[in-house]
Symmetry: C2
Subunit: 240 residues, 2 copies
DNA sequence: ACATTGCTGTGTACGGTAGACACAGTTGAT
DNA sequence: ATCAACTGTGTCTACCGTACACAGCAATGT
């Protein structure tokens, strides 16, 4: 009774989930989804998602932009493909171990994936269909929480919570930028603005003025979330 | 010794932080930053950030697109203005009360603001300068954590954690969409895909198959985060 | 009073984007 | 050998951001 997947004629679902599909008749395709996505990823990694255009990607492969439309229905689907390939699958989950260690590793690995391709942040805002690889990340975190007294909805909510934290951290890291980068300059300006308007932002000015700020945001938030989850799990498993 | 704010000739900082600045000589400007930003917000609310173009915004005000460039250096700055106006200031913080209540109210109010203008998600990925209103939100959450034994960096990290959660929740809500919306259709398709590939995603299929999923994701994550923060604060205040 | 100067809004032009469509050439099936 | 399906290309449209020159208006300096 579930909706037929192939019915909505959604191009994206066929691209991401459909079979390789080779009902060959004419000349063999010279390109492939893999190569096209890889070219797009190359551009996005180097210059950001904004620099990814059909022209750019096609040029990198020494083809015309219109050739790409033989493989991909449009730019949105190209980006979806790029996301699916860039996010890859999650590393294999350890077979055993505490759920807390599983989730910690998961968060660190997802952070690495997003840090390697910061444009994933831009490409994954907004409603869209997830691909097999992306879903595998979700599967791993939900599976790590199996059998600890949480409802299905709660396990999903926990996944959203963790993924949201990773996104926030990567976004913050990108906003900070590398030493001497234009992004770092932005932060400096912001800091100066806060000090300059210290009357309006006393708590902020005080917090930023304190020394000893190592970059612990990922671990800090992760520890809080996991502590909170542990408290809930303890309560649930104490009195079934 | 702090970097001079006005020095980098950054247009955005002058727009967001600069004085109204009226060194009038020629004809009085017919438009205003407020009206332009409001027009942009109107378009974005109705059709998304992607539909915001100089033409659209200018047309809504019955002016040519080039007229906008007399007020705003470029589209990026227009969007920054839209963000600053759309996010408004945070509602006044309650004068007293437990930090937990403060943060809960803050998160709910920020969620409301983002839900009212979902395009804020798109407009606030990527490195950028924050405006006075946006900074006021940050100030309120950091201030709520004052005097509970957390370091300045930890208070900032907590703010990032909470803001990231709100963003994640709003993003998820937007991805789900309204009843019968195209976004909701996307979710249905995804659900069907998970069931169809249940062998590859057993935990996910099981979690989604469980009944009784009311929309509690915001409160669930918030409760975990606040529990985790409470545990840390208890530890800190127990042994000073 | 008047010329000067600075500002406003407009029109035009340029290079970029995504994509529709027609076409020539290549290939496998009949 | 014929035909049908497919690939890659060239051309075209519509729209985007924005640089630039220009005409008109308003306040300033004389």
């Amino acid at each position: 009774m579930a909706a037929d997947v192939d019915e909505p004629a959604n191009d994206t679902v066929r691209l991401l989930w459909g079979p390789p599909a080779r009902p060959t008749r004419g000349p063999k395709p010279a390109l492939s989804l893999e190569r096209i996505a890889a070219a797009g990823i190359e551009v996005a990694d180097a210059e950001g998602l904004g620099s990814v255009s059909m022209q750019r990607v096609a040029g990198l492969l020494d083809y015309t932009k219109m050739a790409l439309y033989r493989y991909v229905p449009g730019k949105a689907e190209l980006v979806a493909l790029m996301v699916e390939f860039a996010v890859a699958g999650p590393p294999a989950a350890p077979a055993d171990g505490h759920w807390r260690d599983h989730l910690t590793a998961w968060a660190r690995e997802l952070t690495q994936a997003f840090t390697a391709h910061p444009w994933l942040l831009d490409a994954t805002v907004g409603p869209r269909l997830m691909g097999p690889n992306e879903l595998a990340w979700l599967e791993r975190v939900v599976s790590a929480l199996d059998g600890h007294g949480l409802t299905g909805a709660e396990r999903m909510d926990a996944a959203v919570l963790l993924a949201g934290h990773v996104r926030g951290i990567v976004q913050q890291a990108r906003a900070a930028g590398a030493e001497g980068s234009p992004e770092a300059r932005l932060l400096t300006v912001l800091g100066a603005l806060v000090q300059q308007h210290a009357e309006d932002y006393p708590a902020l000015a005080a917090a930023m003025a304190e020394p000893g700020g190592r970059d612990n945001a990922l671990d800090f938030g992760l520890a809080r979330i996991l502590d909170g989850l542990a408290a809930l799990i303890d309560r649930r498993t104490a009195r079934p």
